[in-house]
Amino acid sequence: MNASAHSIPHGHDDRDAHGHDDQGGGHGHIVLQYQPGLPLSKGKLIMWLFLSTEIMFFAALLGSYVVLRFGAAVWPKPHHVHLSEPIGAFNTFVLICSSVTIVLALEAAKANKVAMAKNWMLATLLLGSLFLGIKGYEYSAKFSHGIYPAQPHSRIYEKPDLYYGSAVRARLDELRKVPLGLVPAGLRDEADRSAEAGGTVDLLKRLDEAPAEKLSAEQQTARGRFQKVQKMLTNPGQQPFDLAVVADQIMPLPSEGAGSHGGHASGLNDDFPWLRLPTVIPGGNMWASTYFLLTGFHAIHVAVGLLVFAILLTYRLDRKRAGMIENAGLYWHFVDLVWIFLFPLLYLF
């Protein structure tokens, strides 16, 4: 009981708690004052209440990820889905640095060093933006491999079965009737310019007829592989295995020994990016759903934090604002905390 009765409110903005001696002094009666049950300022209390709901929010997301992942029959290796561990580790480092800079901004503000506080705050904002930039780069790498969380864009198939084979055939048929405007630069023809607007181009035929000097050395060998893959699709011998070969040619799953080589083997989709053929990543659909959900919600939190920092930067960051900076910092540290768990769970497990 006494513990809470005598404690002094933590925040600096709680100055009404100190003033009652002056008010009550001359009137001959004691002015009583109610203390809040928790010895901290309202802003900080609300921030901590919010953070405790955030703990549950992210625990539900992380928990469902763990449960989905370990309950799955097959889960892709990080290299199957083109995750780069060094990039993830670097992003972790960036977030840790930003946690330090916001703490230093708070210390500077408490010491009334306004310019210094502003500089540390700016550094935090820049580091947070760097994190989002790297995340965006990673997302675009996923998208370029046809890894999306949902169907219209996603080109992930779970296994090399008949459904996969017919999806590849359907895409090849599409490539035989590509509208003029969508022909990739390397395969454009003089005749295209004079052709009428509604015309289509058979890209597969055009690739076959392309002169060797228009293609790089890798593309020349890839063209030969592609022709064999097409034959294999139209006349498969031992179907399930042939389709596994087709899938391996289109986008190979890098073998184990992840540490040995960082890059991934090049498939037809990499040699000719315009092919955009369906790929096989066993367990890849569930992986994509959880990956984008987890990192997406985390990125939204980072973006909100950046917004708060941008708003704080418009203030004079002196001792009076220390409470505000502390609350923003609490939020930011929590965002860092979530990433501390996300990084190993997504990149290293």
Binding site: H6, I8, V229, A247, G329, L330, P344, F349
Partner: protein, 169 residues
């Protein structure tokens, strides 16, 4: 605990607030009294930098499980347990030092422990329906879901080099 300075002070929540207790020079250990004190830095910038260095070292440690230095590559569970231990350590460091929880009064338990319990139960509740979902599968799911032998098939295909020009693996 400070001793009462006026009779009114003994009335529990109705209290008179004195001048802030004089700040003690904070050694890292003498700093956590039950008073939330609003003065100065808790541990000083040197301590923050030490925590920062520890966080960097820990991140490197969990990254080591990915490198070829890691001796238990064939037993993923060792790496998982290690990484989770490292992550929990990092989380504790951030919470205790950067979020100042080490120096907060006892309210910190009121807010964090129920939330943590809730978090753990939320995840546990998912185990029967989601975690064990592949124990019993419908015919349709069986048809479409990937199975380990699909992965095996892909690996065999990669090794078979059926096509004349092998892919540069």
């Amino acid at each position: 605990m400070s001793e009462p300075t006026a009779p009114a002070d003994s009335h529990g929540p109705i209290t008179r607030v004195g001048a802030p207790s004089s700040t003690v020079a904070h050694d890292h250990d003498s700093g956590h009294d039950d008073h939330g004190d609003g003065h100065g830095s808790h541990g000083g910038i040197g301590q923050y930098l030490a925590v920062f260095a520890a966080l960097c070292v820990l991140t490197t440690m969990s990254f080591l499980t990915y490198s070829s230095v890691w001796p238990w590559r064939d037993q993923p569970h060792v790496g998982w347990a290690f990484m989770m231990a490292v992550s929990c350590t990092k989380a504790m460091l951030v919470v205790l030092f950067f979020m100042h929880v080490l120096w907060e009064a006892n309210w910190k338990f009121v807010l964090t422990i129920p939330a943590a319990m809730m978090a753990i139960f939320l995840a546990l509740m998912l185990v029967p329906d989601v975690g064990l979902r592949n124990r019993m599968v419908s015919q349709e799911r069986l048809l479409h879901m990937a199975r380990p032998n699909d992965l095996l098939l892909m690996e065999q295909a990669a090794e078979a080099q059926v096509l004349a020009d092998p892919v540069a693996h």
